[in-house]
Amino acid sequence: MRDRTFVPGRALIYLVVTLFAVAYLAPLVVVVLNSLRSNEEIAQGSMVGWPQHWAWGNYALAWSGFCVAETCAGIRPYMLNSALVTIPATIFSTLLGAVAGYAVSLWRFRGDNWIYGIVTLGLFLPQQMRLLPWTIVLRDIGLINTLWGLVLIHTIQGLSFTVLFCRNYYAAIPHELIRAARIDGAGFFRIFWRIILPLSSPILIVTVIWQFTHIWNEFLYGVTFTTGQQQPVTAALIALSAPVADIPKHGVQSAAVIIAALPTLLIYFFGGRYFVRGLTAGAVK
């Protein structure tokens, strides 16, 4: 560890980091407080304020009573949609990515580097280049405006990340291990189940957290390929926060925002370490 006591002005350092911390926390605190204030209370003052009467009812209303577009079922159906897309797509893309990452790093086959290179191009290619083709593909296989359509997209596109993560991790496993097992007669799947998978939990946690956050937060595909009751929660939130003709309902909207952000916030809270690892793994391509 380096000695850092030579830097003067410790008080100034603490002051500056505290100011920054307040600025980064403020939006969250404001929204949490607003989710507990009544709509009238916010309308009379501003978005920033301490609840005079704790309006816990906002959460119930946001969950199952608030109107999004024409339906008044709260954001519960959209949360369910997001879960039904995110969970299967996360599992599929992680498992397929693990097998493929193992194949390209340890099994090796003709052309593996080429295939791997093309797959990871998906990290860079803008979504907009794929919007029209996906529209046509989803329509032709009958999955447009279905949750399974989104699962398919996120599974296939997620491979770009999951193969990259797993391949880099598996590349560090000694090849001798694989070679010895092969000489002993173990096949592709036996080696995967018995040797690779038991060693994989660190990278699988990173991959699952990364994919879950990514897919839950995705918006463009959700809003393009689904409508109405089929939309994921990110798309529904936009409809919900759009200005409506009658009195604004910022209290309930704030509660809805908190509910929609909660799954990824919880994941960050409990798995922050792995989240950051995924972030840096994704950055240093």
Binding site: R2, V99, I156
Partner: protein, 309 residues
């Protein structure tokens, strides 16, 4: 592993051989990889092809050369979007670099509560852009947000209406984007600062160099590779920014905060101009390549040098 070894004592498995025996394996390796690679290649080629056709509501064959590109490039929508992208891209990347570096240096001073602070600076990254955009649209809205708060506190002449000001609205996107992603720059910089060889710093201290001089001459120069990575990743985000703008300003007021990704969406799905939409998407790709290709070349040179060293 012991298990793999023990099962292998079975006398040499007769080669069921051929494709049939290896079918599950072949399927598991090739199907996902080929689907992923094939969709990337074919989808890109298809979109590029459509950008040269007269497609409007539905894709049609035909060849119109660069007509779609000329139409997009000549449209006011695209021109504003491109100017905005330049301003947003440069301002956001520079400011988030500065913020991230400052936070990393401060956190690197062996301060108390470093873990908590780091978590606070990073949590916005876990939140979706839709949520970020929505929350900031409330805070920056002069009717209910910060301006109203200050008015209620008694300073009634206070003005902070960038969200509805045509000239300043693009800066609200910069603010929200920095709040969301400067933690990312901080995380990478902090990792870089922690990996600087302490021997070099000790040597500099013995030579009588002060902290500022040590940072400037010894520590910061080692951060170049990280800086370039951060710039490229953040630029990539800026170029494809969509959700954040959609939730924060929806391109407005008017089309003052238009960005290329919104133009593409507008052309494809609101105006049913598939050919032009595809052309705009390809233009986005070209902008991205202008950033990524030099980066790829730089990485290649770095790797070769590392290989020779």
């Amino acid at each position: 592993m012991t298990d793999a070894a023990s099962t292998a004592t079975r006398p040499g498995r007769p080669a069921i051989s051929g494709v049939v025996g290896r079918l599950p394996e072949v399927l598991m390796i090739w199907v996902p990889l080929l689907l992923s690679a094939a969709h990337l290649v074919s989808f890109s080629i298809w979109t590029i092809w459509i950008s040269f056709t007269p497609s409007t509501l539905v894709p049609v064959t035909g060849w119109v050369g660069l007509r779609n590109y000329n139409a997009v490039l000549a449209s006011r929508n695209w021109q504003i979007a491109f100017d905005n992208l330049l301003l947003f891209g440069v301002a956001f990347v520079l400011l988030s670099l500065i913020t991230g570096l400052l936070l990393a240096i401060l956190l690197d001073q062996r301060i108390r509560g470093e873990n908590v602070l780091r978590s606070i600076f990073l949590y916005p990254l876990a939140v979706s852009f839709v949520v970020t955009g929505t929350v900031w649209s409330w805070l920056l809205n002069p009717g209910i947000g910060i301006e109203k708060l200050v008015h209620d506190l008694g300073w009634t002449s206070f003005k902070f209406d960038w969200l509805v000001d045509r000239d300043m609205a693009i800066w609200t996107i910069v603010i929200a984007a920095i709040w969301q992603s400067s933690g990312f720059a901080m995380a990478l910089f902090l990792a870089g600062l922690r990996s600087v060889d302490s021997e070099i710093i000790k040597a500099a201290q013995i030579d009588g160099a002060g902290p500022i001089r040590i940072y400037r001459r010894v520590i910061l120069p080692t951060l170049w590779p990280i800086t370039i990575t951060v710039v490229v990743v953040q630029l990539q985000f800026a170029i494809s920014a969509f959700d954040l703008v959609r939730a924060l300003t929806n391109g407005g007021p008017g089309i003052a905060t238009q960005l290329p990704a919104l133009v593409v969406y507008d052309l494809m799905f609101q105006r049913s101009q598939l050919g032009r939409g595809a052309a705009a998407a390809v233009l986005m790709l070209l902008i991205l390549l202008a950033v990524l290709l030099p980066y790829a070349a730089w990485r290649y040179v770095q790797r070769r040098q590392a290989g020779h060293a």
